[in-house]
Symmetry: C2
Subunit: 186 residues, 2 copies
Amino acid sequence: MAHRMISDEQLYETALDLFRTYGYEGVSLQRLSAATGLEKASLYYRYPGGKDDIAKSVAQGVVHWFQSNIFAALLSDLPPRRKVATVADRLRAFYGGGRKSCITEILSIPGGPEELRAGLKAALQAWIKAFAEVARQSGMSTPIAKARAEEAISRIEGSLILARVLEDTGPFERALRLLPDLLTKE
Amino acid sequence: MAHRMISDEQLYETALDLFRTYGYEGVSLQRLSAATGLEKASLYYRYPGGKDDIAKSVAQGVVHWFQSNIFAALLSDLPPRRKVATVADRLRAFYGGGRKSCITEILSIPGGPEELRAGLKAALQAWIKAFAEVARQSGMSTPIAKARAEEAISRIEGSLILARVLEDTGPFERALRLLPDLLTKE
DNA sequence: GTCTATATTAAGATAGAC
DNA sequence: GTCTATCTTAATATAGAC
């Protein structure tokens, strides 16, 4: 047995799930080993930087997913309201209908490598910018569009907290349903 | 030296600050020891149950603070709008103007004792109920009042995430400023 | 590319002196 | 009531066999 027991994609998905569930400090190499079926030494072979390396790779993967699936959808030439509806569907899938936490929330808790937090900050700024842009396209003034973008993401993040604590996906679903009215004018 | 080097209140405040900053998994007894000036064995003397015990005590303290400072204010006979303004001021202080994270958010991440999560869930339900009650008092229908309460807390929690990630207290301040309009009718 | 084995440090926790 | 000292387990990390 000399070749990969688990694909890079599977390893990524497993690590993402662990980090967004337990946080940086809550994920040990032992836990990663148990979840992936790879021994710790094998994880170091794939990620020489160890846990920091894996966490940064996960964060980078999420940033890439947002670029391809959220920001790209917002740059299409569909009507703004259609674009936002598409984004809401993709966010619903990404957050497991409200059962999965936001990796930006979880990994922004101090403890992990500093680069991680810097990357998440940049990603969040990009997300706000992308939402503000679609709101402006739909006819809002620049300052109102920016406020609505902040409000939309604030409500998504907040509703995910409520969903986690209350063990009820309702708040998240309601936040997503409001997205079109929040980010588009009529 | 046979007597208390640090008061229970000081120990509580220090532990609260550590847990809301680093999360359950991110707080070690070493860290608590360094921050309080007490050796680990002394922490065990005060909290025989160790870290779990301290975390549960912190959560209980916060629940008590909310009862005395938030829920109590909402039960006074001031006009609803005045009550909400008072609550906003107290929440601003509690969250350090947006610089401090929500203990409910942080301690709801899996890893700590189960009782912790159950207590936080009950506390959050009580918070929603208290906000819904003041909204209803101000003239809203029961379902709308409940929706507004959920929205208000969702935005507070979400804005605290944004504030932490963006290193900018603006979102939190804006969320608080909106509270009166959100929870009262005129 | 993955494994077993091991080194090293830090974690949670307790015993017993003062 | 706090301390030093110690135990046990689990953490990150590496060496070297296959």
